[in-house]
Symmetry: C2
Subunit: 479 residues, 2 copies
């Protein structure tokens, strides 16, 4: 509810975030340590995000399926790096149906192993490849320091798992899905991202190459918002995914996996939110337009509500996600605050004067106060609203991009790097050694985020050690 102000971002960004998530009823703490409940408003947002991703997955030839939640513990042992990465985080089922199990089962932290096992059953010939499967669900990684949407023991996500006949095809798939994530983040979520490779230290456990997208939050920290991994033949070897190729020779397949999670909701909040609350990008907003009727007397109410009903019907018919706030006993001002907190992109007010003038007031969430408010004729309102929503989507992306670009620095030396990573991202030449990476982390708490795909010509000198460097990398503090 909107009866209390949020802690301002500038005062305590983390408190602001936590309060916003709870008060906007996006999520709540569960009675199970480390877990969250995603409330209907948050889940509807996730459903809209799912729809945007799922459409892109299907357009690129993928299908969905469902694999078990529980995975035999022995499966994790089959890929050495994978078991090292995940076994400390597992939740383990030891009893079922009142008896101790012969083999313990893990609640899945990710499904490469069990899906690899099934692929080895399904793949015999080159005709069976590629397999392009995605799964929507939740995974469990034991974690006690909870931050809703950003770090919980259980979180919701999708995980794509593909198997291919050649390394080139699998590599192409890895980058294709990275592009899908970037397009979704930028087009649907209005979040500008950098695409790039993760350093060896930051690679997914068991992957030969991890790519990801990184976004800048308004506290200038980075958030990894989607990853796409190339496994080469690692998992195919561990799980015996082999096939007869066209020359009738047995060959190991090449696999990939890629995932995006409800972390993206955390990103949305931290990229777009302000001291009044959330700002939902129109394309994925659970409610795009909220109509607030304004009246004092009963005679006014009747006329106003008649106009409200008409406008509601027109917008709904036109495919706009619209809601009427007809709650009794709350003032219009209270309602404005409440929907601002929840980030509804466009507020439509109708009062007695608007009825008389055959107009409405439109207030955009992304432009505060009078500047964001216009009066529009009822004639052609659907077009006006659709245009305004498009304009909000575009402005939100531009604002986030400007903020990010303003906070990316090119430090001239290591001293300056140490300074700038306290207030933004550093884009610097790096020799790609784990030592230099570790030094930066120790000195500043900043880590390498991604080696961007988009690189300058030529080469430079590592900002840390001064040795030859072929790539620039982003250093930043991160969630």
């Amino acid at each position: 509810m909107a009866d209390e102000k949020l802690t301002p971002q500038s005062e305590n960004f983390s408190d602001w975030y936590n309060q916003l998530v709870l008060r906007a009823e996006l999520a709540d703490y569960a009675p199970v340590r480390g877990c969250m409940v995603v409330r209907p408003y948050g889940w509807t947002l996730w459903e809209n995000m799912q729809a945007g991703l799922d459409r892109r997955f299907k357009e690129t030839g993928h299908v969905n399926a469902a694999f078990p939640t529980l995975i035999p513990m022995s499966f994790f042992e089959k890929e050495k790096e994978h078991v090292e990465g995940f076994s400390p985080e597992l939740a383990v089922v030891t009893h079922g149906g009142g008896k101790e199990l012969e083999e313990k089962l893990a609640v899945r932290p990710t499904s490469e192993t069990i899906i690899g096992y099934m692929y080895s059953k399904w793949v015999q010939s080159w005709r069976d490849l590629p397999i392009l499967i995605n799964q929507w669900g939740s995974v469990m990684r034991w974690e006690l320091r909870t931050k809703l949407f950003l770090r919980t023991a259980e979180f919701y996500w999708q995980e794509g798992h593909t198997a291919h006949a050649t390394a080139d095809e699998a590599m192409e798939e890895t980058y294709r899905m990275l592009d899908v994530y970037a397009d979704f983040a930028e087009t649907d979520c209005a979040i500008p991202v950098v695409k790039g490779h993760k350093s060896d230290t930051e690679r997914f456990a068991g992957a030969q190459m991890t790519t990801g997208i990184e976004a800048m939050m308004q506290d200038r920290k980075a958030l990894q918002s989607g990853t796409s991994h190339y496994f080469g033949q690692n998992f195919a070897e561990a799980f015996e995914i082999d096939f007869l190729n066209k020359d009738n020779e047995l060959e190991l397949a090449y696999t990939t996996s890629w995932g995006m999670s409800t972390r993206m909701i955390g990103a949305l909040i931290m990229v777009h939110g302000d001291d009044q609350g959330m700002k939902m990008p129109p394309k994925i907003a659970p409610i795009q337009v909220v109509i607030v009727p304004i009246y004092r007397k009963d005679a006014e109410k009747e006329k106003v509500m008649a106009a409200v009903d008409e406008v509601f019907a027109e917008l709904k018919e036109g495919g706009v996600r619209v809601k009427v706030d007809d709650r009794e006993g709350f003032s219009p001002g209270f309602k404005y605050n409440d929907w601002e907190l929840r980030g509804v992109p466009l507020r439509l007010e109708i009062g007695p004067r608007d009825v008389k003038k055959e107009s409405v007031a439109l207030a955009r969430r992304d432009v505060p106060g009078r500047d964001g408010k216009t009066f529009e004729p009822r004639v052609g309102l659907l077009d006006t609203v659709v245009d305004r929503l498009d304009s909000i989507q575009a402005s939100m992306f531009e604002a986030a991009k400007k903020f990010r670009d303003d906070n990316i620095h090119n430090p001239k030396d290591y001293d300056e790097l140490k300074e700038v990573v306290q207030k933004g991202w550093a884009l610097s030449w790096w020799c790609e050694s784990a030592e230099c990476e570790a030094k930066v982390k120790e000195d500043t708490k900043a880590t390498t985020r991604v080696i961007p795909l988009d690189q300058p010509e030529g080469e430079g000198k590592c900002v840390v050690c001064g040795e030859k460097a072929e790539k620039k990398v982003y250093f930043a503090k991160a969630y």
Copy 2:
């Protein structure tokens, strides 16, 4: 693959079912005892079923949310019947992050408890009611005798959980969702169902009233295909879901829950399938129309494929879920069998003669052989296809309804009841005593399925004990 015939239904219905599920690639056995993998073809079917249900849920005012997979063991203790019903079936997590947990956690078998806990946090006043939430996900009930889709340790479902200010409202909700299930089963799945109350013995653990829909499989057994429960104040008391009513008095809420699962896929198979394989009702079929091109020489191929592409584009544009089977190296006959196995409602064949005559051949899956095949002009093909799909949907429902009605018996006495439940359902007067119910079960293995909402006038004599009976009930063997 379609290179081997299924065991005929008449020879062994269970073998027929198991082979069909695997060969049509609907599901597979998982490497975790009792669990299944739902393969893409089966999952796409489930997605279509989800869409039909989710639309109905939203039209009746419900929203989706997500609650944790793991539930503290102590939660089950709070409702006496509930713990008795579910604790023997739990999978239990005892370790997390490498340490033994202070409190063990169950992988949810159903979520009344954890959702009840959250509702008690969220509900304070009558203004907060009703809460109308649904959750899509999976649940775990330890079960080792697996039958894919019908009985697995983990299965996929939705569970609706609602809380209301009055008993009447909660009761109304219970029946509303029963109606939603019946409408979905009959309209979308072409499965005729009987709506009714479950006997006290068959009630959900913790419910005051359980209602359900029952469908008849082609082996004449019954399958419970969706249930809707009224809890009265049982769970509200156990979890302290109380609210200040309009008179400012503290009152306990009234709750319901209702669920439908991937069992429904099992029902689809067993209601509609035949010795050639599955029959998908067009409304939920993953593929509604498969186009099989027919040609011998390269010159033919070019013309045929040009026509195929045009037809494909026209149907796709028109909203039909259409696929072209352009696999090389497989004969048309092989392809026909393959898609019949998978139950695609309509096959469209295009050969050189069809190209010349500007026509296509349409073969409906529900009418075997020549009787189901017609030649149709290319002009107006989209309309023809849409009409044909509607006709298939209607015919499938009628065929299933006739089969069911032909196999419902009204035995004149107990001896006849014992006979008829071996070959169908018995609709009989019953005194509602657990003794008579138990006697039927012991003598025949048939159980009370539902006391249908639709009852004859007046009263009769219990078919078992001859005492006064106010209701008729269906006795049948069941899955």
